[in-house]
């Protein structure tokens, strides 16, 4: 009897506390205030790289829209394909809104392909902002192709394509070449900038650049008649369809090219694999995350700041080129993309494994 009583009392006390706690949580929501605080943004890459420039360009605008206007400082933890930096964030970052991490495509793809070294729960972190970044494939004009409509002419020609490695960001194109049935000779161990140089020298005859690099440099080669743009990877709209890249509305997407070449809509594990890799490298190109256990109100404060920063005319003026006119995904809107990029069906995994083994002699 006594025991029951005490249980009841305890339950009552508990209930009261819980009810009392509700407005308290509400109060916290209103009281998220970073005044006088330093926010540490971990960039798991070298300073000056894409992710670094991304957060540094966004930081002043986020600062302006975060409650209390904290100072955002960037700490670079470079190397290891961003695994050490992300692992460090997982183990050390407190869920207090003063710790964020910038995630790039390689952080996502290593999460999928390098499981043994990864100690971070990318799929559980709280997304703040996700910024896609497109890419354009172009070919040397010497190959005699005038555009995507003539892409079939590339079949049987000796194409030379360079890049970092068979499992890196180039996969979004190597799989595409495979699906189009092109005969490509790969030259690995070449960084992005130098591949364009090798293309200019004529050593490579097919190459790609991400949107900003294409606009700045490769487009000059196109103007000079040395290169012909073929297709973009497109981007995914809210409904999950792949649509044309808003920066290059005149260029077809890979999906369109596939359809024209094979006369049917793409399907099957090969295309699914391409789509997963495209999610990693295009849609999840750059993103900002908070630690898993960050309280709801704090997460919401960050998302509101991101939303407002993107709308800010000041941002438009100074940093719009950082997001290059791509749709931005704030908060929960980013989650499905991350989920699609990080969960590969067994059929897709098998296809990828066979593809990497037979075409590139790589086991993963």
């Amino acid at each position: 009897m006594d025991k029951v009583m005490s249980f009841r009392i305890a339950a009552c006390v508990g209930m009261t506390c819980a009810i009392a706690g509700l407005p308290a949580a509400e109060a916290i929501a209103q009281k998220v205030d970073f005044a006088g605080k330093r926010v540490e943004a971990i960039v798991p890459f070298q300073p000056g790289g894409g992710s670094d420039v991304y957060i540094r360009a966004l930081a002043p605008h986020l600062e302006r829209h975060l409650p209390g206007n904290p100072t955002i400082i960037v700490r670079n933890v470079p190397g290891g394909g961003s695994i050490p930096g992300a692992n460090q964030f997982q183990s050390r970052a407190k869920p207090d809104g003063l710790n964020v991490i910038v995630v790039s495509a390689s952080t996502v793809s290593n999460f999928v392909f390098q499981k043994s070294k990864v100690q971070y729960d990318l799929d559980k972190w709280q997304p703040v902002l996700l910024s896609p970044q497109g890419a354009v494939l172009y070919a040397a004009s010497g190959l005699g192709v005038k555009g995507a409509q003539e892409i079939a002419k590339l079949k049987g020609q000796r194409l030379v394509f360079g890049g970092g490695g068979p499992t890196g960001a180039e996969m979004r194109f190597t799989i595409a070449f495979e699906l189009l049935g092109l005969d490509v000779k790969y030259v690995w161990g070449v960084q992005r900038g130098p591949t364009r140089l090798a293309f200019e020298r004529g050593e490579f005859n097919i190459n790609y650049d991400t949107t900003p690099a294409y606009k700045k440099n490769a487009s000059q080669l196109v103007k000079a008649g040395k290169a012909v743009p073929l297709f973009t990877l497109g981007i995914q709209d809210e409904k999950g369809n792949i649509v044309r890249d808003p920066n290059f509305p005149d260029l077809p997407t890979f999906t369109e090219v596939y359809e024209r070449m094979h006369g049917k809509k793409p399907s099957g594990p090969g295309y699914e694999a391409w789509k997963a890799v495209m999610q990693m490298n295009v849609m999840a190109s750059k993103s900002i995350f908070l630690p898993t256990d960050t309280p709801r109100p704090v997460v919401e404060a960050w998302r509101a700041a991101a939303r407002n920063a993107l709308k800010d005319p000041e941002f438009e003026k100074l940093a719009a080129s950082i997001v290059e006119g791509y749709p931005q995904f704030v908060g929960e809107a980013a989650r499905p993309i991350i989920k699609e990029a990080t969960t590969l069906s067994p059929a897709v995994q098998d296809w990828l494994r066979t593809f990497l083994k037979t075409k590139h002699d790589v086991t993963y």
Binding site: G48, K117, P166, Y186, G189, E200, N217
Partner: protein, 656 residues
């Protein structure tokens, strides 16, 4: 165009612009002095401030910083034997022996003036080249890159030391160490023991510190004296300055080397300085003093490493491809201020391009002036009892090592390689040869594979390749003909066949390591293993030859033990392991208390026990180190290793 050149200069000379340039230059000097920090760290410190600012103010500041890190890095290189950046490694070889002779001020004077001439030369050529550099860079394809790397590698021939076999074997070890990490052709991890740390390879800065800073430090500690063996600082800065002018052709040739190598994406001052040094050795007849304190050995690399920036700016500005690590950050900075380098940069931003060039030239003059002014007083450091300086040097090089990847493994890697470097020094295995092999390893592997992949064997038919092949042949011929200056073989000298056990053990350990490398290589696919396997097998042949020669019972150059060089009455009381244990002490203190607090404990204890200071000044010394690291952590947003203490309790800044 010409009026734009003048406008650029006039713009810079206004007070506000000059102030930004000056501030950048001063910051560059500071980060250059600290080992492990260089242009990358300095520029990332500026990045938060550049965003949205006027490019004509920010650019001079960034360029000023970049221009002089390779100037001030000479201070620690010459005075302490610690390369301040990887561009100062070759400077240590002759600079530090000069300091030990009490000629630090002279060495610094020569180094700084050579730096300035090299830097201004680089800026000048950059200006002249903006219209012709494009076709030139485009002429360098994969085949030419491969030949350039091989040409750089032949410089090892001039730096093997007394025994050519041992020198080449060390180059092999460097190539093997450099091949650790992802294979360029397949991305497979070689010799990484399945760790994330080794998947990127060992950081260059750590290898540099381990090869030079650690062995020198242990030796001087054992000698128990000041760095300078004479109590007076000899003739000073001005003399060095005049010597640079006297060797003006050497300065110009080495500046040209620095500029050309710098302009190749992926090759930078860590390579060009060694080529400049090798070039000096090839073109001079009197090599007697080289490596033992020859002033030209300072002038050659220092002319190259500042000219390097002018070269590295060419691909950065004209192709949007960073010519070096710090240029990558600079490129990021340019994007942040809305300047888009790359094709058409010169047409779009000609005014800014000239502003950059003038800033480069002026920063070199300002930086050199400041350093020359400070050379004499700072050189007095070499007159202080080394036991007082040593704990600070130890914590600073470990600080520098940690900045490489901010991992605990950085500290362990420096310790292990430091022990290797120490025994290499003791047993006469060439450390420069190892470094050259190390910096070129991945590039060589990648270039061979890429050339073959793109051209097959036909790359040998390209004109550029043939020209470079000719140079390679000349370089090998010169190396083969070179007679290194070496002591006579005597039965009681360092080359004597007495007490061989320590040397033979070292040799045995090396052979075992290469044996393991063979085992590791067989897990890999052909493209990933062909390079390390070739290196390993060739090196094993060399090591086998060295072992056979060592077994004979007569003096030979393959035998060497510097322990036999101590005069009978001056032999140190403590062995080198005693001081390695002291270095290990820092790692221990860090493991317990974290780096900052550990530094305090360590410096204070070292000063008390080894330098016999009273407790109070010893504690003050420790406090000084803590303040330095706290300031660095605050301004450069640095992180320090954590210890057990930090995992048990939340510590206040800066101890967390």
């Amino acid at each position: 165009m010409y009026d734009m050149i003048v406008t650029g200069l006039i713009a810079l000379l206004d007070v506000e612009h000059f102030a930004f340039l000056f501030a950048g230059t001063m910051l560059g000097l500071v980060v250059g002095i600290l080992p492990g920090l260089g242009g990358i760290a300095g520029l990332s410190l500026l990045l938060p401030f550049v965003y949205g600012k006027d490019p004509t103010l920010v650019l001079p500041m960034m360029v000023g910083l970049l221009a002089v890190t390779n100037t001030s890095d000479t201070f620690p290189a010459v005075l302490m034997g610690i390369p301040g950046t990887s561009g100062a490694q070759a400077t240590v070889v002759d600079g530090f022996p000069l300091a030990k002779r009490g000629e630090a001020a002279r060495a610094l004077g020569a180094a700084f003036s050579a730096s300035m001439i090299g830097g201004v030369f680089g800026a000048l050529i950059l200006t002249l080249s903006i219209y012709v550099a494009r076709p030139l860079i485009l002429a360098v394809g994969f085949g030419e890159q491969l030949m350039l790397i091989i040409l750089a590698l032949t410089m090892v021939g001039m730096l093997t030391g007394a025994s050519a076999i041992k020198g080449l074997a060390m180059c092999g070890l460097g190539l093997l160490l450099g091949s650790i990490g992802a294979a360029p052709a397949t991305g497979e991890y070689r010799l990484s023991f399945d760790t994330v740390y080794l998947s990127d390879g060992i950081p260059l800065v750590i290898v540099g510190l381990a090869m030079f800073a650690v062995p020198e430090m242990v030796e001087i500690l054992r000698r128990g004296q000041t760095i300078s063996e004479t109590a007076e600082l000899g003739s000073g800065t001005l003399r060095g300055f005049w010597e640079t002018l006297r060797h003006k052709w050497l300065v110009l040739r080495c500046s040209a080397i620095g500029l050309l190598i710098g302009a190749m994406p992926g090759l930078g001052s860590s390579v060009s300085t060694w080529i400049a040094y090798g070039h000096l050795a090839q073109t001079t007849k009197d090599r007697e003093m080289l490596g033992k304190g020859d002033i030209r050995g300072v002038i050659a690399p220092e002319s190259a490493n500042n000219a390097d920036n002018g070269g590295a700016l060419i691909p950065t500005l004209m192709f949007g491809i960073p010519g070096s690590g710090s240029m990558a950050v600079f490129l990021g900075g340019l994007i942040l201020i809305g300047v888009e380098p790359g094709i058409g940069m010169i047409e779009r931003h000609l005014d800014l391009t000239f502003l950059i060039m003038w800033s480069l030239a002026l920063a070199n003059v300002i930086g050199t002036g400041t350093c020359l002014f400070l050379a004499k007083p700072i050189a007095r450091l070499t007159l202080i009892r080394y036991a007082v300086i040593a704990p600070f040097m130890i914590v600073i090089i470990y600080f520098g090592a940690y900045q490489a990847t901010q991992s605990w493994y950085d500290l362990l890697a420096l310790f292990v390689l430091g022990v290797l470097g120490m025994y290499m020094k003791r047993f006469g295995w060439s450390r420069p040869a190892l470094l050259i092999g190390f910096v070129l390893s991945m590039k060589l592997d990648a270039a061979v594979y890429q050339s073959v992949q793109v051209y097959g064997a036909s790359f040998l038919e390209r004109t550029g390749v043939l020209i470079l092949l000719g140079l390679i042949v000349v370089s090998i011929f010169l190396a083969a003909r070179m007679k290194p200056h070496r002591e006579a073989l005597t039965s009681d000298g360092p080359h004597a066949p007495a007490n061989k056990a320590p040397q033979m053990i070292f040799l045995g350990v090396l052979i075992a390591c290469f044996g393991y490398a063979i085992y590791d290589a067989f897990r890999l696919t052909f493209l990933a293993r062909v390079f390390p396997l070739t290196v390993t097998l060739s090196t094993l042949v060399l090591l086998g030859a060295a072992a056979l020669l060592s077994l004979r019972k007569r003096p030979a150059y393959v035998l060497y033990d510097s322990e036999r060089e101590w005069a009978a009455n001056a032999a140190p009381q403590r062995g080198e392991l005693h001081y390695q244990a002291w270095i290990l002490g820092l790692i221990g203190a860090t493991a317990l208390f974290g780096f900052v607090l550990g530094t305090f404990v360590y410096v204070a204890t070292f000063l008390r026990v080894k330098a016999r200071s009273a407790w109070r000044p010893a504690a003050l010394g420790g406090l000084g180190a803590v303040i330095l690291f706290a300031l660095l952590s605050h301004f450069l947003v640095l992180d320090y290793p954590r210890g057990i203490l930090q995992s048990l309790a939340d510590m206040p800044w800066p101890f967390n």
